[in-house]
């Protein structure tokens, strides 16, 4: 086996992942926090005002990254679900356990900031726009996933059930998105379409890109930390965890 392949195999093993991922977690945290600070200050203080929406558009720098991330995390869970069921990789099942609450928080944040943004822009907290509605459905898919996990007492069983549900959900997400869009064109014209909005100047979208990457990295740090906790918890009876803890801490 080449060194790269060995590395990948080690990544799939909780014990090796625990040590290998630590620098990643630190890296993600540093990059994420610094990009978010830069992106938010840039977006909130220095980006130009929108000529129609004024300052209220600045919530985009929180709204868009969280909405993006919620969807990406859901798809990642679907991929992890396949990995967990087909190759029986323990880590993939832990990944779903850790990512579901993060995704739920992101979807909740996207919905909340969307509502706050909607009030001054559309004149209503909630308008059943295609994107907000499919985000709401995504939010409830995540609620179901978290509830299912919590209802099953056995960790192994909960993980596998969540993997099946994550796959089913991921298959359904495009259908839901499409049907909601279709429903909208039937009932009301797409007056609030983002796609027909005037293109943003670089001074507006550059901080947005920084924020998106920042939030992705920050979520990466959360996920790595969560995975390491989950590994310690699930392998608490394993020799190596006991030795680590006896030696006065889980650090390598």
């Amino acid at each position: 086996m080449g060194p790269l392949r060995t590395y990948f195999h080690k990544l799939g093993s909780p014990r090796w992942f625990f040590d290998l991922a630590r620098p990643w977690g630190i890296g993600f945290a540093v990059v994420g926090v610094s990009l978010l600070v830069v992106g938010w200050v840039w977006g909130l203080a220095f980006a130009p005002e929108d000529y129609q929406q004024g300052n209220s558009f600045r919530i985009i720098y929180v709204h868009v990254p969280s909405a993006h991330l919620a969807q990406a995390l859901y798809v990642a869970m679907g991929v992890a679900g396949v990995t967990a069921l087909v190759w029986r990789v323990k880590l993939a099942d832990m990944f779903i356990a850790v990512v579901a609450p993060v995704g739920l928080a992101m979807a909740g944040m996207a919905l909340a900031t969307g509502a706050i943004w909607g009030r001054p822009t559309w004149g209503a907290w909630w308008v059943w726009d295609a994107r907000t509605t499919s985000m709401l459905v995504l939010f409830f898919l995540l609620v179901g996933l978290v509830a299912l996990r919590q209802a099953i007492p056995s960790e192994r069983q909960a993980g596998r059930a969540a993997a099946v549900l994550a796959i089913v959900g991921t298959v359904n997400v495009p259908i839901i998105k499409y049907s909601v869009e279709w429903w909208l064109t039937l009932h009301q014209p797409a007056s609030f379409s983002f796609s027909s909005a005037p293109a943003m100047p670089p001074s507006m979208w550059m901080p947005l890109v920084v924020n998106v990457i920042g939030l992705y990295s920050f979520a990466g740090a959360l996920i790595v930390a969560g995975l390491r906790n989950e590994i310690l918890h699930r392998e608490r009876d394993a020799q190596w965890v006991r030795e680590r803890l006896a030696a006065g801490g889980a650090r390598p």
Partner: protein, 221 residues
């Protein structure tokens, strides 16, 4: 095929011998229609929401009926017997779901238009509503069965089944209610009905495998 038919006959026999339980979802549907009727302030409002309300209630009634789908089989060990057989699980799942649909879905196809009439919808809506329910309720059954399979090991949790299944029912609900509303507006409901048929085809192809996987997971120890 013979496995599916045997499973259907067995499940239908059980339903016939223990009547009461199978009627609960239908009673729930009728009762909830009453609540919608009382909550609607005027005949116009009731007529306007009728097709949508019928579809939402059909989804709810189906999701709530699912909790009992595997409960008896889990308690009596019939499910473990089924899982121990080496043959693929999906024919038996398909048979089971067909039996369940005959008991809850098919009555809803009849009760749905009746409920819409009770909510004072115009008679123009009824064909699209009935046809939509005929195409849509099997899809709702398939989706609900996935949730029921995943929770089969827990023993309780009709609410959990609903929580898992209902977000997945959104497309069916949209096209089903869309067909009825199109008919109410005097438009052609064919596209929506075709979409419902497409969703049914997709669900019938994929769901039995997901249900099988869910059942296997639920009985692992």
């Amino acid at each position: 095929m013979s496995i599916a038919i045997a499973q259907t006959r067995r499940d239908l026999a059980i339903v016939v011998r223990s009547r009461g339980e199978a009627l609960n979802p239908l009673a729930f549907f009728a009762l909830a229609t009453l609540l919608f009727g009382l909550a609607g302030p005027s005949p116009e409002t009731r007529a306007a929401i009728a097709p949508g309300a019928v579809w939402a209630l059909a989804a709810l009634a189906t999701a709530l009926s699912m909790e009992g789908l595997f409960r008896r089989d889990v308690e009596e060990g019939a499910l473990e017997q089924l899982l121990l057989h080496a043959r693929p699980l999906w024919p038996a799942v398909l048979g089971k779901l067909f039996a369940h649909w005959c008991v809850t879905g098919l009555p809803l196809v009849v009760l749905g238009p009746v409920a819409a009439l009770a909510l004072q919808a115009s008679t123009d809506v009824l064909p699209a509503l009935a046809l939509g329910l005929l195409l849509g309720t099997p899809t709702l059954t398939f989706i609900g069965a996935i949730a029921a399979a995943l929770t089969a090991g827990i023993g309780r949790g009709s609410l959990l089944v609903a929580l898992i299944a209902l977000p997945l029912c959104v497309p069916t609900l949209i096209f089903g209610a869309g067909a009825a509303f199109a008919a109410a507006a005097g438009a052609d409901a064919t596209p929506q009905l075709l979409w419902l048929a497409a969703l049914l085809a997709a669900a019938a192809t994929a769901a039995p495998f997901a249900v099988g996987a869910g059942l296997r997971v639920s009985q692992e120890h």
